[in-house]
């Protein structure tokens, strides 16, 4: 009899893949706003998978940063750019065929790699918990320097975005 967490895993994994598919290849609508909304749903289902993996802090960060900040930015830009005429264009046959071929090739490689590594997986013993306390301890003991570099990266991104958004790019 499958455990409750396994049912939850199946539900969240299926929802993630379904929403991801609808985000990139929605057969009904090619409006970018629809894609953005399905990307939000994909991200929320991924946060569910993170909770199943006991990465609670990352699940919260995923919702806050991706579904909160990044997607609002996406929606702002979509509405700023007024992309109405885009869905009237024809799909590019060459891109569709080459995309399908590339994706099938990559999926084949991944499945084959997983198949050959089959015996190595799945320990069921004592497993780590992704609470804030152990995560913060690691972050501020072993990873202080990358953390500080990251803050500089954010500052650089901030200045760059302000410069790019100015009216004249001279």
């Amino acid at each position: 009899m499958p455990a409750f967490t396994d049912l939850l895993f199946l539900a969240f994994a299926g929802l993630t893949l379904l929403f991801g598919f609808l985000c990139v290849a929605n057969p009904l609508s090619r409006n970018p706003v629809t894609s953005a909304m399905f990307l939000v749903l994909t991200i929320v289902s991924l946060a569910g998978l993170y909770v199943l993996l006991h990465a609670f802090f990352l699940a919260a960060v995923q919702i806050l940063v991706y579904a909160g900040a990044v997607m609002v930015l996406f929606l702002f830009v979509i509405m700023l750019l007024d992309l109405g005429e885009e869905d009237r264009r024809k799909l590019n046959r060459v891109a569709l065929i080459s995309g399908t071929a590339a994706v099938l090739g990559l999926a084949g490689v991944l499945v084959r790699a997983l198949w050959s590594a089959k015996g190595a997986a799945a320990t069921g013993a004592t497993l780590v918990e992704g609470n804030t306390a152990p995560l913060g301890r690691i972050l501020f003991q072993s990873y202080v320097l990358p953390f500080e570099i990251l803050s500089i990266l954010l500052l650089v991104a901030l200045v760059g975005v302000i410069l790019l958004s100015k009216k004249e790019l001279k």
Partner: protein, 101 residues
């Protein structure tokens, strides 16, 4: 069935394939960007799964860094798209094939 490492890896791989398909096949610059986000999220899921099943929290710290860098990347990329749109009045990849503005 016990949801083990392999199952999470399969989900991550399929999600990465979907993102790649979006990047190659879609023509709208913003949807291409969303495909990139999907690929980043797939990598994050695989990192968290490895971290959980190998009893090692370093993977989760890595995901934390990846999320931060992805947020910065999205901000800069969208600013570039807006600047490009101001110059060329299009966000369609086939109209943006030349290197010169």
């Amino acid at each position: 069935m016990q949801a083990g490492l392999n199952h999470y890896l399969i989900v991550g791989g399929l999600l990465f394939c979907l993102g790649l398909f979006g990047v190659i096949a879609r023509r709208n610059l913003l949807v291409v960007y969303m495909g990139l986000e999907l690929m980043l999220n797939a990598a994050n899921l695989v990192l968290v799964a490895f971290s959980r099943f190998n009893n090692n929290l370093n993977g989760q710290v890595m995901v934390f860094f990846v999320i931060t860098v992805a947020a910065a990347e999205v901000a800069v990329g969208l600013a570039l798209i807006v600047a490009l749109y101001r110059k060329r009045r299009t966000a369609h990849v086939e109209d943006l094939a030349s290197l010169k503005l």
